[in-house]
């Protein structure tokens, strides 16, 4: 997910050409306080007519506790981007209030309540503590994300390249997302010149369960894609597992072996997931 400052027309109009799976038009931290109105108007006008190609378009609004959040919702919700990202989510009660406002605006415009989704951003210690109750109760929340920079600020620690300070938070957020069967997106890697560091952090994130990563520069797209895209070898292996599974199932066999290794339900489930990710159908 490529972050794009909401007050930068050059970056917004080019947002779709870089090949990111989704772009996040940011009205929050990337916009100066005295330009919130300008960014809101720019994002509204741009979303209406700009071709972002295959990228999903999400908008990060300001928190409702700020003077800007309500105006953001009133102007952006009618456009029905793919998702609205809500920053510093700390409790399910907050989400209830947020959804009431969103649905009121949607009713005003004759829009359904189930088209645009929500991403809840967890950026505070309280949010980390409450993350499962946030992630699990609302059908409109289809992703949670961790905001590493704000979280370290809330915890009064320094963000370090090894991510030690936020490792517990990452894993707790991931577990909440997995238990809720929704996506979970890792925080940005702030050093755009450190490609090795980005790859290392992205690989770690994938290993512990993130389903994607936020980025702040188009240069970071290829590395994140490489890490998260199944390799040909992985796809072939998964394909073979499913093919054998289907054949064995037809013969009434639940557990079987491939190349001497046991294949049971969890292995099959993982193979199915990988093939879905790769958009491959077993014939």
């Amino acid at each position: 997910m490529l972050y794009i400052p909401g007050n930068n027309p050059a970056m917004i109009q080019q947002g779709g050409i870089y090949g990111a799976d989704s772009i996040l038009l940011d009205l929050e931290d990337a916009v100066a306080l005295n330009q919130k109105d300008a960014a809101r108007s720019l994002v509204r006008n741009m979303i209406k007519v700009t071709d972002f190609y295959d990228a999903e378009v999400c908008v990060r609004i300001n928190h409702l506790s700020t003077p800007f959040g309500l105006a953001d919702l009133e102007e952006i919700v009618p456009l029905q981007p793919s998702a609205i990202r809500y920053p510093k989510t700390e409790s399910p009660e907050e989400v209830v209030e947020l959804l009431k406002i969103i649905e009121r605006i949607e009713d005003l415009h004759g829009l359904p309540h189930n088209r645009m989704t929500l991403h809840a951003m967890i950026e505070t210690a309280m949010g980390v503590q409450n993350v499962f109750s946030i992630a699990s109760q609302f059908s409109r929340i289809d992703a949670i994300t961790i905001g590493g920079q704000d979280l370290t600020a809330d915890m009064n620690i320094i963000y370090t390249p090894d991510g030690a300070g936020i490792d517990f938070a990452r894993k707790r957020i991931i577990m909440a997302a997995k238990a809720s069967h929704i996506d979970v997106i890792d925080t940005v890697f702030p050093d755009v010149n450190d490609e090795e560091g980005l790859r290392k952090e992205t690989e770690y994130g994938k290993k512990i369960g993130f389903t994607g990563k936020a980025i702040i520069n188009p240069r970071q797209i290829d590395i994140v894609h490489e890490v998260y895209t199944p390799t040909e070898e992985e796809i072939r292996k998964a394909y073979r597992i499913i093919k054998e599974f289907k054949a064995n199932s037809a013969a009434g066999i639940g557990v079987f072996a491939i190349d001497g290794k046991m294949v049971d339900a969890p292995i099959v489930a993982r193979a199915e997931y990988l093939l879905r990710l790769a958009n491959v159908t077993v014939v």
Binding site: N8, P9, A10, Q13, N34, Q35, D37, A38, S41, L42, R44, N45, M46, K48, V49, T50
Partner: protein
């Protein structure tokens, strides 16, 4: 409607446009100063968008300066709308 205060919106960056609006005495009408790095190709379009939006907001007695660095139509509309609303005192911003 007449602007209450002078206001601006936009930047001098490439692909952006900056609008500066200031009120004029009653009856002065509209004074437009439009410059663009792509004036030859898109000058007419810029003027059309400006006049249409000023008509939409029924803006009179204003001095409008625009310095365009190749902004696309949605950017022009967004920046002008913001400048107008700031000048009308409907939104906060700079200047």
């Amino acid at each position: 409607m007449k602007p209450k205060i002078a206001a601006q919106a936009g930047t001098f960056e490439s692909s952006d446009v900056i609008f500066l609006i200031e009120p004029l005495p009653k009856g002065a009408g509209r004074k437009l100063e439009l410059t663009s790095t792509v004036m030859q190709q898109f000058g007419e379009s810029l003027k059309r968008i400006v006049v249409e939006m000023l008509d939409q907001f029924e803006m009179t007695d204003i001095h409008l300066i625009a310095k365009d660095k190749g902004a696309l139509e949605p950017t022009i509309k967004a920046r002008l709308e913001t400048a107008i609303k700031r000048a009308l005192g409907q939104q906060e911003g700079t200047l």
